[in-house]
Symmetry: C2
Subunit: 329 residues, 2 copies
């Protein structure tokens, strides 16, 4: 990350500092259950951090449109809780050992408790959202969660095989972009946006989320384990073909395709090693291809902001897509 | 079951036949997802049957108060879906092999898909409930689901050890009675009941649910595998102490307590066999003790109906507690 970007990240953070702190306090309050195991797991997940990018988007969307109420703190906590709930269940499904550089919750508490902790977090998120007494908000959150759950199931059915770009884009929409989109929509609803503006900001969130996930998938292949806080190429190890891999599958030689398919099928680098895959991706220009797609999504995101009045929150929203595609972890 | 009871069961069923059929159609429509695995699992679960006792209670509560709208069909499907979602996740947690005499869903589709199918069913239930555009209904459903999830976690923490009656009653409230209570409340809300009547009918549901679960737990110990559609004494095999077992733990000899604790700890009948446990329970009058508690709950349930006008639906509600405590499977 360049010094310039860092300084801008700090500026954006400063802009949201008080609200993000309020969201952390809200998350702390919301994680408390009569049942010790739930509070323990919820605390562990909350303390694991994460970028809080979804609540930040919701805050920026609301504040860019002049909203000043407390709803954005509540709903910021809600989108983070929904996100966390999906991670807990996904880690069970992927039998993940680590998450954000720490043992995943299922490793510590076991699958059974984590199924229930995930359920509880979903319900707690809806419980907080219900306090807004706004049906549109609930419609969005419930339909979002269904999309995400369906996406995870669809992904399971693709494991170990080549998929096409259409399948890939549908999967990352459900996995990531849908929640980015809903975060922007929720901020807009709080601010009393027209349907048109809400749709445009939703499009911003969707495009940004697509860019975010494409870059995430590239970094999974190209970054180091230290950077990622998890083993490199874990997507391939789980049998998942991401955009650059799909590009090499479709544009590489027969041998390239054969090598990639072996890794997908084996869900390991036993027969073909990681370096060989990287060589294939680089030789076919597949990493650049994926990054170009991410840049296009980032540009599309910025265009969704056209109708917003100029203010520091809009400027922050304009900057976020650059940050997302330029990050190295 | 006596002939008299059977004939009354048919009368109750006749009273609700059209609405229950409408609920089955609604459940069929609601189980459809773009994702084949979800539709498959949801169909499998729906076709597994079950007594539809929760939707029946909701229908009776609404109709006893003169309600005639379509909301009761929708919400009847909702409570059944919430129930099914909890069963799917519970079967994962208990690593159950069978459910209602068939392989449990997790045996066929694996835990990962069933975590997601359960999530999806919860969301679909809320999605349908949202159509009623009534916040009270959503408050009840979300808080119910949290109670149930917490109950399952609390239960996990009791496995393998003796518990006291207070713990037992809290667990069965969360596991069963809470959803019976909410079903009665939802029917009342649809019918526009006063808070007082809603509370009274909620109490009916709670007491009935307690009676239902106490009897279920007794049957698990005393009925045959053919009757149950699952192995006998599966609670003890999972390390769960139920009411009659708690009674013998607290009122039996040192040797009785030792024998029961061995089974709970081992989660098997390897050191102490099932017949020996039944002998302990019978000698201490523990089965009668549990059934007496169930009869008291059934009586308390009936008292919750005092304020209802006399009609065939009230008469059906008066009959249900007798049915619940007299059933042999």
């Amino acid at each position: 990350m360049s010094t310039l970007a860092l300084s801008t990240a700090k500026e954006v953070f400063d802009l949201l500092r008080d609200d993000l702190r309020a969201i952390e306090r809200e998350l702390g309050r919301d994680a408390v259950s009569d049942v010790a195991a739930i509070t323990e797991i919820a605390d562990y997940l909350r303390e694991g951090g994460g970028k809080r990018i979804r609540p930040s988007l919701l805050l920026l969307a609301a504040k860019a449109q002049g909203y000043e109420g407390q709803g954005m703190v509540k709903l910021g906590a809600v989108v983070e809780m929904v996100h966390t709930a999906t991670l807990v269940h996904d880690d069970i499904i992927d039998a993940a050992d680590t998450r954000r550089g720490r043992p995943s919750a299922n490793t510590t508490w076991g699958n059974a408790k984590c199924v229930l902790a995930g359920d509880w977090l979903y319900m707690q998120a809806f419980h907080i959202a219900l306090e807004e007494r706004n049906f549109r908000i609930l419609d969005l959150l419930i339909s979002l969660t269904q999309q995400m759950v369906e996406g995870e199931l669809l992904q399971m059915e693709t494991l170990g095989r080549a998929i096409c770009e259409t399948e890939y884009f549908d999967l990352i929409y459900r996995k990531t972009a849908c929640l980015f989109q809903v975060s922007m929509r929720l901020g807009s609803i709080l601010a009393g946006a027209t349907d048109e503006i809400e749709d445009q900001l939703g499009e911003y969130g969707r495009s940004l989320g697509m860019a975010f996930q494409i870059v995430d998938d590239v970094l999974d292949l190209t970054a180091s384990e230290d950077m990622l806080g998890k083993p490199v190429a874990s997507d391939l190890r789980e049998g998942k073909a991401t955009l650059s891999v799909i590009h090499s599958l479709e544009n590489g030689t027969e041998a390239d395709r054969g090598a990639i398919e072996k890794v997908l099928l084996d869900q390991s680098f036993d027969r073909v090693d990681h370096a060989e895959i990287l060589e294939i991706l680089n030789r076919n220009g597949s990493v650049e291809y994926a990054m170009a797609a991410a840049f296009r999504c980032a540009e599309a995101a910025r265009q969704g902001l056209a109708a917003l009045p100029d203010n520091e929150f809009k400027r922050a929203l304009l900057w976020v897509p650059d940050f997302v595609v330029a990050r190295d972890k």
